[in-house]
Amino acid sequence: MSSQTLSLAATLQDSQVMAVRQLRKTLRRPTYIVFSFVQPVIFVLLFRYIFGGAIDTGAVSYVNFLMPGIIVQTAVFGALVTGLGLTEDLKAGVVDRLRSLPMARAAVLLGRTTADLVMNVLTLAVMVAVGLLVGFRPSQPAWQLGAAFVLVLAFSYVFSWISAWVGLSVRNPETAQSAGFIWVFPLTFASSAFVPTDSMPGPVRAFANVNPVSLCVDAVRGLTIGGPSPAAPAWQTLAWLVGLLAVFVPLAVRAFRRA
């Protein structure tokens, strides 16, 4: 009986093939890309010009308060694509074909999440540009801005794995879409992304203050516009990310084997 596991090099090569496939697929749907940019831009305009005037953020201007929040929210929403795309592959029979090939099974998920990460770099760049246009003025040194960008990307990458697990568990594109919003909406809105958590009722505030979205937003705020030190929330965010990866990578891989 020959070895039934593949080397790391083989896994990485397969992951690269899968990532290239996914990027080609996405880049050939320009209307899809445009619409995936439009939604977060609408959120920016909505909060900046409609709700923003009614939200008190103290000494910080609302647009400076908002942009780190909305950038993190966009990263989380962007991660929903991962699960959705996997359910579409399941439905089309592509997953069956891939699982019948002598490739590394983890490569399907590694490649997919990597391709989605690349797309999220683009989305976040667009968000930063839109933010600057509507008055977002980061004041911190360049290395901190770079660190904030990397932290948000890491955040979206980890959430891609959660989304992959949800998608592979529900298996149906429509259900995956609804299921995605069910966990993503509370997580992004019951957080410090759009309003200071002080204004929330006790139990919601308690949730919001430990919510990894809040921690990430607080870290990005500190890294970009200053104020309270970003060190503590940044480390707490990283701890969350490591923990979430440790849980959801095995869960997603298991769901893929069974799908």
Binding site: A10, D14, R24, V94, D96, R97, S100, L101, M103
Partner: protein, 332 residues
């Protein structure tokens, strides 16, 4: 490396979805280099067997081996030996035909140049060279299926598993696919194909297993299965104004079973015969009685007749099942 005599060995395989037994102790072997047809109605367990053999589904009981590799203990070796084409064209619409095939080649861990040249070869063979650089989204249904089959051949696997390869194809595409499968048989590839089409199994397969409710209920060459269904069928039409009903009693004792049927609208007389001289004898008797024969034909039973005699219902209407053999739904 020499291949074992049996490319596929399945022993007492059982798979259940909840309370539904998709496979209920199925056993079969497929000789290396042959085309084996798995014939059965919807829900008989055909797709489930293909999913077990392609390592997509773990059996609850029993063993399955592909080229000597156990599907549960040596899945990677099995995957290196097989090509799978399912009921749907599992190809990426946004990619071109060439990109789809090169990707599969790379996933069989071929070097880039080799994946490229294999893709070129199969595109040529499946008559897709002109469409190679077009997105699959622009392909017709027949072209997609051809590309899907091409993808399953890119790794040059010694064993091909084809799940209803022609379902949903127009007659011309089906004919093209049959021609390709004939070539594969010539090239020594072992093929296990499932089909609901009796005609297709007869046309393509050297051996056929008829399966129903997760079990093999008959197995043999197409010829053996037909002769197993009993007897040949003699069909006679008389010249007008002869009365077929008057002719029936003359032929009654030639019928092996079931007597002589008279088809109302056409006046055709049908009887199952066992004696080798039945045709000559029938002509002689009708002639003596002054009844003139217009058409006389001795036909082997069709596979549909085989299915009917084995299961008591035709392949197209599994509703004829009795209570203890409720048709089993396969998962979509």
């Amino acid at each position: 490396m020499t291949q074992p005599d049996c490319a596929v060995e399945v022993d007492d395989l059982a798979v259940s979805y909840g309370a539904v037994h998709a496979l209920a102790g199925l056993s079969l072997t497929v000789a290396t280099g042959t085309v084996f047809g798995l014939l059965g109605p919807n829900g008989a367990g055909k797709t489930t067997l293909v999913r077990v053999l392609s390592t997509l589904l773990r059996p609850a009981r029993g063993r399955a081996r592909v080229l000597g590799h156990d599907v549960v203990r040596e899945p990677l070796s099995v995957r290196s030996s097989i090509g799978l084409a399912g009921q749907y064209a599992a190809v990426d619409e946004e990619l071109t035909g060439r990109e789809n095939l090169e990707m599969v080649g790379r996933l069989y861990r071929l070097p880039k140049a080799e994946a490229r040249s294999r893709a070129r070869d199969v595109l040529e063979r499946f008559d897709l060279t002109d469409a190679a650089n077009r997105r699959v989204g622009t392909y017709s249904g027949g072209m997609r299926r051809r590309l899907d089959l091409a993808a399953s051949l890119t790794g040059r696997p010694p064993v091909l598993l084809l799940d209803e390869p022609t379902t949903g194809l127009d007659p011309r595409s089906r004919q093209e696919l049959w021609t390709i499968l004939d070539e594969l048989r010539g090239a020594g590839t072992t093929v296990l194909l499932t089909t609901q089409y009796l005609e297709e199994a007869d046309r393509l397969a050297q051996r056929i297993a008829v399966i129903d409710a997760g079990r093999v209920i008959a197995e043999g060459t197409p010829g053996e299965l037909k002769s197993g269904a009993g007897t040949d069928v003699l069909r006679i039409r008389l010249h007008a104004p002869a009365d077929p009903a008057a002719a029936a009693p003359l032929l009654e004792d030639l019928a092996a079973t079931g007597g002589v049927e008279v088809d109302g609208p056409t006046g055709e007389l049908r009887l199952r015969v066992a004696r080798p001289d039945a045709t000559a004898e029938a002509v002689r008797r009708l002639d003596l009685a002054g009844l003139s024969v217009s058409v006389i034909q001795l036909a082997q039973p069709t596979l549909d007749d085989v299915f009917l005699s084995l299961t008591g219902h035709t392949a197209e209407s599994p509703t004829g099942h009795t209570a203890e053999a409720t048709p089993v739904k396969e998962p979509a």
